[in-house]
Symmetry: C2
Subunit: 325 residues, 2 copies
Amino acid sequence: MTDIAAIAAAAERLKGHARRTPLLESPFLNEIAGRRVLLKPECLQHTGSFKFRGAWSALSALDPETRAKGILAYSSGNHAQGIAMAAARHGVPSVIVMPEDAPALKLANTKALGAEVVTYDRAGGESREAIGETLSAERGLTLVKPYDEPMVIAGQGTVGLEIAEQAAELGITQADVLVCCGGGGLTAGIALALEDRAPDMRARPVEPFGFDDTTRSLAAGEILSNDRPSGSLCDAIVTPQPGNLTFPIQQRLCGPGIVVTDTEALRAMALAFLRLKVVAEPGGAVALAAALFKADQIEGDAVIAVISGGNVDPAIFAQALTYLD
Amino acid sequence: MTDIAAIAAAAERLKGHARRTPLLESPFLNEIAGRRVLLKPECLQHTGSFKFRGAWSALSALDPETRAKGILAYSSGNHAQGIAMAAARHGVPSVIVMPEDAPALKLANTKALGAEVVTYDRAGGESREAIGETLSAERGLTLVKPYDEPMVIAGQGTVGLEIAEQAAELGITQADVLVCCGGGGLTAGIALALEDRAPDMRARPVEPFGFDDTTRSLAAGEILSNDRPSGSLCDAIVTPQPGNLTFPIQQRLCGPGIVVTDTEALRAMALAFLRLKVVAEPGGAVALAAALFKADQIEGDAVIAVISGGNVDPAIFAQALTYLD
């Protein structure tokens, strides 16, 4: 179980290893939103996304003997890079199982961060789980799942601790906290942190149109799936359904979900470029998009939004910039 | 005169008003440079450049009665925005004299930040100084120059205080500190801060090819001018010659200048996008370009580079991204 004690302990383990990202604000964005908008740019975190926090939290919580045998992860994206760097900095091996048709840059980055990448043929019916199980059995690797993992949720929750502290320094103790939501690890972790450290704040998941499994699940009171496995520009935060560990936490603590279109995410990326000078990926920009373009669904004089990652292809970023013309 | 006491006093005045920008690092950039590269992203400062520090320092140092009459600045760029926001937050008027053919976005931003913008016809021979003198006499405005102003240099020097502290936390006390250099306010301020707080570090100006007035002046031991007034993509850091106050400080404290091409600045912008997730403008990227591409001119196991600003047109940014293809 993840609770505030687990998050506080994760924060201790992350100290000096993860970055404490700032809280940014722009008068131009405030004007668009009609209220103060504070941004937590986790794109500035190591490896370009919040995932490094969960990875570091999970690895640093393992007993050293187990950790030394190595870490296993399935991921084609931000979790892979987080695990690879956290493992390398712990001096232990990591194996990332990725589809062989994953983008070349992501494969290269993951390798360059020190991981062994094992590819599988998605179309040919190879199962990453079967490959992973064989590797685990042979080498004694520990699997770290991307969100349904208590120590990962605890690590992501450190974002919530920082938000509570940094907002209080600005005199803000009441706000909707908008969180880019895939499997729900970041949203659940932040919600748990806020429950204890900023009880008048409320975490709210934000999802891309067509992939609003968490929003619909929260409304229905049960876990519902997406119709399609992929097809959003916001691929980094598309998962089949909310996690078994993360959903009950969200159900207990979160406000209703908010849904934005891919176009709104691109416009938010362009405004983050222009007004904040940070690089957001489409999935990392959905919470900012909600803050700017869904003001009627938000309560209070201030809103806080997490920019969860910045690992975006240059061509897609250039496409986003055309919205400034 | 600006000295370490003036810089420390400016830091006190800036507390809670300017952002303390982080020190970023990427293993990918370290590999290109062949040593550790630490980046100080002042593009994340209010108004997107370090200029807010100098503006806040200068305004907060004025006696309240003088300040209340208003502030005058000549600028088509980052200094204008810094002054406009600093004045608005002090609740005093600001007047910015800008050429009428300045980019529309810069005119609009400066107005939106609360300044009164007075334009003049550059081609028609109108003099901004004459306009400024008339306005000053009529309204009692105080002129804040962009670099040859002791309190501005003191404000920029707070970047150096933070670098000394943040690098020491990483165990680094010896390094070349590369600074994007126009009139030399930032370089001189950082050099003064380092002299006291990190005496084994050395500030070094970095300039764009063809506009290396400071580099040549340092080598010659006297103030030399650029041949041309403009013509570099790095327009934000192009000035006719080193300042009368800033040059003697640089002469006493700085290492030799480094010159990079516009293409190298664009490549550095692309790498800052890819590896740091921050937006740099061409002039703001020259120090990073030197860290990455002029390694043979740099000494030591680590190098620190300031990314001085991020106010770049989307089209130029998109052009920079093509270097990643």
